[in-house]
């Protein structure tokens, strides 16, 4: 089974498992605090269990890193790390806001060593994929970042207050949006709908961004931390990072803003 097939099987199992919970208040009931330090809601647990069940049947040995359970070794000699956010955009899913997804990354032991990225939009069914060195794809069609090079023309997704200040008070960028689903928002950078993504809250987990980081890079974009350095951290759900992702043409100007 290829990486694509494995990711797809996991995403489909999650989609089926949570389908009855979308827009339902009971889906948002907090069960406990998860391994990542944030509440595990019912929909998260249902989704993670569905994924685990697929991975345990796969037969390969792997390290499974996931938001709620933290880390679990499957088999005795892990061939790779399988990094999952069972549902990215839980608040949206619980409240029937059509913006949530399943992101999966396959790699070694560090965020800088991801070899395959997969994000499935659970509303539209769109699938974004990237294999290291082989480009990024939306539903198997090649995608590329935008070519906007002026700040004044930028459509930015931002969880950082400075861009809001400049956008809203000084009209220095064209638009700012905040959808509450980082993995999918980053795919909009890869496909050129938005030009940049900024999150300076020191809140992003590897499970949120590992897949989409590779997808943005393979689509021709640039991803760094808030200081302009390459993003690197262990594939561990307790780690938190800042992130600036862009089409590459405005990256330095954005780093000055944040």
């Amino acid at each position: 089974m290829s990486y694509y097939e494995l990711c797809n099987e996991v995403a489909e199992a999650i989609q089926k498992a949570v389908s009855g919970l979308i827009g339902k208040p009971e889906a948002g009931v907090t069960l406990r605090i998860g391994a990542d330090g944030t509440p595990t809601e019912k929909i998260d647990e249902v989704a993670e269990n569905a994924a685990l069940s697929v991975l345990e049947k796969d037969g390969r040995s792997m390290r499974f890193v996931s938001e709620e359970l933290g880390e679990k070794r499957i088999g005795s000699k892990p061939e790779f790390t399988f990094v999952l956010d069972p549902v990215d955009g839980t608040f949206n899913a619980v409240n029937n806001i059509p913006f949530f997804c399943v992101p999966v990354a396959i790699g070694g032991s560090d965020l800088s060593d991801i070899r395959y990225g997969y994000v499935k939009n659970l509303v539209s069914g769109d699938v974004y994929t990237a294999e290291k060195g082989k480009g990024a794809y939306l539903n198997k069609r090649k995608i590329h970042v935008s070519s906007v090079s002026e700040l004044s023309g930028l459509s930015v997704i931002s969880y950082s207050y400075r861009p809001h200040v400049v956008a809203i008070n000084n009209h220095k960028v064209r638009r700012v949006r905040v959808f509450g689903c980082a993995a999918l928002e980053l795919c909009y950078i890869a496909s050129g709908i938005f030009d940049a993504f900024i999150d300076m809250r020191s809140m992003l987990r590897v499970t949120d961004i590992a897949a989409s980081k590779l997808i943005v890079e393979e689509a021709g974009g640039v991803v760094t931390n808030g200081n302009g350095k390459p993003l690197s951290t262990e594939l561990d759900v307790t780690k938190r990072v800042n992130m600036v992702a862009s089409n590459g043409m405005v990256h330095d100007k954005l780093l000055e803003l944040v």
Copy 2:
């Protein structure tokens, strides 16, 4: 034909007319500058023409106020003003981001004198309605604003930089979102999914907010300008306002933030 039926017929005509344009780059081609001072894109014109055609067949005389054409008198003795944004969330619609709607308000000559509000979510088909003094409804079921009373628990939709500062840097509110579709975002305040909406850019038009203002108020919420005064302005697409809408329990605290 009741107000509901008239609004619904207009929204359905728009939905049919634009269905082939969602997610298509040609839908976003700028045709000219509209009466509201912003670009008229192809999808806006197609939608407005579909609405006009329904209204001209209705038989009643009315003043039609709409973003692209500005104002048009239908018949000789207007019984009411029909206020329309043919598509609210044009950027989303053109880019296949599932968050756009048709808002319609029926009233006299001022934003403070709206007697009927109707918003149709063009993705899910959900319909929000309110008649002055008779409550607010989602798909004909009564809705009510949330009861969150502490800033730290608030889910806020905000186009104002101060809440971003406090939320992102000081974690004083729980979450901030920006979806880019004011009419529908306000309906999320009415239905209690979000607790407050703030837009201090002085960019909101009566066509964006007239319907949803009544829907929020009839759902038990409070709507003012940024100074805490009642919102009042002519039903004219060139007018721009600020707005703070909330569940009422945190309104004063929000006014201090903006």
